[in-house]
Structure formats: C-alpha cells, structure tokens
C-alpha cells in the first residue's frame, strides 16, 4: 500500500514542480551496480558534479539487476544501470525509463565457475549438483540459456538464488558445485577449488551478448533534458578515461572496491567499455533513425523470459525500440 501513496505524492510533487518550473534539479540520484566498469571512474573523479555545478549528486550502490528494478519502480533514483534481462522485464512491465548509454559489455568479468574436485566436464555433469546464480540477473539468464542450448533440463539440478556476495560465502563453505556470477566476488570462488567453465564473453560469441545499459527516469528526462545530456557527457568522459589511462583506472577501481591492483586490472580486462561515438553504431544502441542490435538482444531476452514463465507476454518490437534512446549521446557528441 505504500507504493501507490508514494507514486501519488511523487505525482503531486511533479505537478508542484511544474508550477514553478526551474531548469535545474536540486539533487540528482545515481543508482550504480556493484560491478567493475567506468561508472566507478566517473564517480571517483566526480565528473558528474563537474558537469552539473550547484547540483547535489548522490550515489546509491545496488546489488544486482533485480534490486535495481525495485529501486527504479520505487522512483528512488534519477539514473540507474541494468543488464539486459532486467531491462526486458522493465520494458514489459512498463517501467517509465529509457536506455541512454552502454555502460559495459560483459566478457569474462562474469563467468560460471565449477568446483574442480567435482570433475565437471560438461553441463550434463551438473545433474544432481547445486548451482547458484542471482535470479533475474544476466548470469541467471545465461545459465538457463546455456542449459537450454545443450538440452539439459534445469530441473535435473538444484538451481538456487543467491546474491553474489553470498555465493562467495557459500562457495567457501563447500555448499555449491557451480555458480555463475561476477567480479569482485567471482575471484574468491576461482581461488578455492574452482575454475572457469564458461564466460559471458563466450556466450556472447554464441549469440547471447549481455550488457548493462544506463537508464534515466522518463519524468526526469522530460523535466531536465539538458541534465540527461550532461550525465551522458560525464559518463562518456569516464569511459574515455578508462580507455586512455588503464593504469590510473586500475588504481581507482582498486580503491573503490578495496582490491589489490592486480585483481582490479584483471577484472578490468574482463569487461569491455564502448566509446560513446561507437555506441551509435549497429552492434550497440544505433542511431535515433536506425536503432542497433541492442533491440534484438532485448527482444530475444524477453522472449526467453516469457518461455520461462517470468514474464506474462512478449511485447511488439516497437516497444523495445522505443526504450533505446540514443538522442542524448548524439547531442553530447555533436557539441
């Protein structure tokens, strides 16, 4: 019962905001995923604050895609970041957001680790074993997709829902035989009787790319379009910094996530940043006139989730196209 009240007050606030319309928000809240990507650089260097003088910038760390959906549904952030499965869910459930930026393309920063002593050579060997993944996330989607492709019934094993930090803890106790999750926790499993069996990068080559996309709340974008552009500009600067200064970036990541530099460097290599001008090409967002392959990925992800009974129905392609909005990058680059 809180939610409708919250959205009602939000609506009232929005109306009162319109009454004395100002072109500057008092405060911008950015929800970011606990992941290794250039958003950490943007945050560390305070690039958003530089673009938006006089605006209070608040960062909120969110554990995974499922949690980010709840944060967005609760209208608690202005900007967020989600992987393609939660994005497909968000579009189908009609959450008021637009995808404005590629945050990262996932390679071996997300991987399926198997227990070496259990002698798992193929996905069929997982029968009767305990496998963990954060449900609703990119890796849960890839796990089911990989099992599906090899014709292995997910019901033949015990697939359990755990957040990444708990997967690491359960792994160390020996409760799990396999898990598909991501850095910075993945490493703890690899170093303790584990080895990488499949990576998200390999799945991308098989035709299942996974990525995280930066999103903006529609209400914010309508009210402060200039500030969405500023946000994109700051994030693009963070991506450029990542690509141009790998050593400095590793230091920043190491500090943000309290990791040794060597680990930070390895994790950085496992995830790909896409420079903003390239984001407008066909493999990514595409242009406003012709949307890119992100739409295809979203449609096939949604289709898969419908078959998994996690979504009620598959929306027409148009709805997924409308979600992708490259116009802010287009404007930010033109300047």
């Amino acid at each position: 019962m809180f939610r409708p009240i919250a959205s009602l007050t939000a609506a009232v606030l929005a109306f009162s905001g319109l009454a004395h319309a100002s072109d500057k928000p008092d405060k911008v809240t950015v929800g970011y995923l606990n992941l290794v990507n250039a958003q950490l650089v943007t945050k560390h260097l305070g690039l958003i604050a530089k673009e938006m003088p006089g605006v209070e910038i608040k960062y909120v760390k969110v554990g995974g895609g499922g949690d980010m959906l709840r944060v967005i549904a609760g209208n608690d952030v202005d900007f967020g970041g989600i992987g393609n499965p939660p994005t497909a869910i968000a579009i189908t459930r009609g959450l008021p957001i637009k995808g404005i930026l590629v945050i990262n393309m996932l390679d071996y920063v997300e991987a399926m680790v198997v227990r070496t002593s259990k002698n798992i050579k193929s996905l069929t060997d997982l029968k009767g074993k305990t496998v963990a993944a954060p449900f609703g996330s990119t890796t849960h989607y890839l796990l089911l997709q990989a099992l599906n492709d090899e014709g292995v019934d997910p019901a033949s094993m015990k697939i359990i829902d755990l957040p990444p930090s708990d997967i690491a803890a359960a792994w160390l106790r020996g409760d799990l035989d396999a898990a598909w999750f991501w850095e910075p926790n993945l490493d703890k499993a690899v170093n303790n009787d584990g080895h990488i069996f499949l990576t998200s990068g390999l799945m991308a080559k098989r035709g299942y790319p996974t990525w995280d996309v930066g999103v903006v709340m529609n209400a914010f974008a309508e009210k402060y379009p200039d500030y969405v552009e500023k946000f994109v500009k700051a994030e693009c600067a963070g991506i450029d910094f990542w690509l141009k200064n790998p050593a400095k970036t590793a230091e920043i990541i190491a500090e943000e996530l309290s990791l040794p530099i060597a680990d930070a460097t390895r994790m950085m290599n496992g995830t790909a940043m896409v420079p903003c001008d390239q984001q407008l090409t066909a493999p990514y967002l595409g242009t406003s006139a012709k949307k890119g392959q992100f739409v295809d990925t979203l449609v096939s992800t949604a289709d898969f989730l419908v078959k998994q009974d996690r979504l009620p129905k598959l929306l027409p392609r148009k709805d997924f196209e409308n979600f992708i909005d490259p116009s802010y990058i287009e404007k930010a680059i033109a300047k």
């Binding site: 939610r3 409708p4 959205s7 959906l69 968000a90 829902d161 106790r173």
Partner: protein, 282 residues
C-alpha cells in the same frame, strides 16, 4: 446478506451458554465489525484500481490477484504449486516453532523458578533478541550453510525469546498462596512445577507462544531469501524481482491467512488444554 445470517448463527451459539444481558452478544457484534472492515478494505481496493488511481504495476486489480491465485494453484510458480510452496514454508515454521516451544517453555520455567538460572541465561537471550534477523542470518549462513538448517535456526531464534520471556513472566507471577498451599500439603518440586506452576502459568505462556508465532512469521521471507527455490516467502521475494506484483500480493494474502489459521488453531488448543481460563474469563 451473508453477514446477517452469520450474525444470527453466532448469536444463537453464544446466548445459549452464557447469562449475558446485552441485546447483541459481543461475539456476533465483533464478527459483524470484522466482516465490515474486510469488506471495506476490499471495496477500497476495488475502487482505487477500477478508477485507475493506482499504477497497476504497484497495485493490481483484485481480479488479477485472483487469477494469479488460480494459476499458481493449478500450474504452479517456478516448479512448485501454491500448496507445495505453502507446505514447504509451513514445515519450516512448524518445525522451528515447535523447537522453540519445546526448548523455550522449560527454559522459561527454569528461569522463572530459579534466580541463578535467570542470571546465567539472561545475558545471551537479552543480547540477541533485539538483533535484526538479516544481520543474524548472514552469520548463520556462514556457520550452518545455505540448506534447511540455517533457515530453521533463524526462525527458531526469532520465536524463542518471546516464549522464554512470557514463560518467565507467567511463572514468576503465579499466586504465592497457591505455591505455599501446595508446599504445605507436601508437594515435591516436580509436582509443584507440573501441578501448580504450569497450569497457573499456562494462559500467559500460550499468549507468549501466539506472539512468538507472529515473530516467526515476520522472519519467514528473510529466511527464504537466501538459497531457497520453494516456499511462500521465496515466491514473494522472487516474484518481486520480476515485478510480478499480482503474485506478490497473492502470496502475502495467503501467508497472512495461514498465519490467522495457525493462530486460531493455537487458541483452540488452549481452550481444549486449559478450559479453566476460558471459563474464568467469561
């Protein structure tokens, strides 16, 4: 219509066994009021959703929740039907609550009768009692793993203090005249506990057990967040991740109803085991 007939039936039952002089017997009056409040809540829910005042993502229509109920009953949610989810959760709750009663009541009696036992055991119970269950849970998962043991332990720990504290309270407020009378008649310590303390303290212990059951329920979703793949709490949590609010609300209603049913069952047991208290209350 149905409220009227319900009132008539209840009215007949209560008026036959008591000499109350009120026009409307209190039970039927509260029955009517309770029914009215349920109908009112349903009507508000219908009104809000039918008028389109609430976003359907947050508050789906009662019909949608009913449809989710039927679908989960027949087709199931992620591999288990609703009954299996409820069964899994009830098993967890009943085992842990049963353990809490079996351990909590004797512990409470011991602490109530002996000052030394109270001094020894109080620090541990008083310390962990106010800890938030999720904080405690991370430790339990590390110690006991992600299986049933950690889930049942968490529910057990949630239920235990209420039972212990109410039992201590109940035992220490037993009328000393009863104790002295029994002692003067030569009752042994064992007889004293079984024949005097337990019957006299029974009603308060039962009240504590009912409150404890409520605590156990509040922790259920937390206990099923970690590494579950069935259970009503897990179903609610999982559906929330996929923004299936019809399943979430349906799950909450089912969870609430099972709680009410268990509470009724406990009151019934109390009435059967301790008829004297219900007679004296009238």
């Amino acid at each position: 219509m149905s409220i009227g007939t319900g009132m008539a039936v209840v009215g007949r039952e209560t008026s036959s066994d008591s000499g109350l002089k009120l026009r409307i017997p209190p039970l039927s009056r509260s029955f009517v009021l309770s029914s009215l409040s349920v109908v009112f809540l349903l009507a508000v829910w219908l009104l809000v959703t039918e008028m389109g005042w609430a976003n359907e993502l947050f508050l789906p229509k009662p019909q949608a929740v009913w449809a989710a109920f039927i679908k989960t009953m027949t087709k199931g949610y992620q591999g288990s039907t609703l009954l299996q989810h409820v069964g899994t959760s009830l098993y967890r709750i009943l085992v842990s609550f049963g353990l809490a009663c079996v351990i909590g009541v004797p512990l409470g009696i011991l602490m109530g009768v002996s000052r030394d036992a109270r001094a020894l055991l109080n620090p541990a119970i008083e310390f962990y009692r106010p800890l938030p269950p999720l904080g405690l849970y991370t430790l339990l998962v590390m110690w006991l793993g992600i299986g049933e043991t950690s889930k049942i332990s968490l529910l057990f720990l949630a239920g235990l203090p209420g039972i212990v504290i109410s039992t201590i309270q109940a035992v220490s407020t037993v009328d000393p005249i009863l104790v002295r009378a029994a002692k003067s008649l030569g009752a042994s310590r064992r007889a004293l506990i079984l024949e005097v303390y337990l019957p006299a303290a029974g009603p308060t212990i039962l009240a504590g057990m009912r409150i404890s059951l409520g605590f156990t329920y509040t922790v259920l979703v937390a206990a099923e967040i970690v590494a579950a793949s069935a259970g009503i709490g897990w179903m609610i949590w999982d559906a929330a991740k996929f923004l299936l609010s019809d399943i979430v609300i349906m799950g909450l209603i089912v969870l609430g109803l099972t709680g009410v049913a268990l509470d009724c069952l406990m009151r019934l047991i109390g009435r059967l085991l301790m008829p004297w208290t219900y007679r004296s209350q009238r």
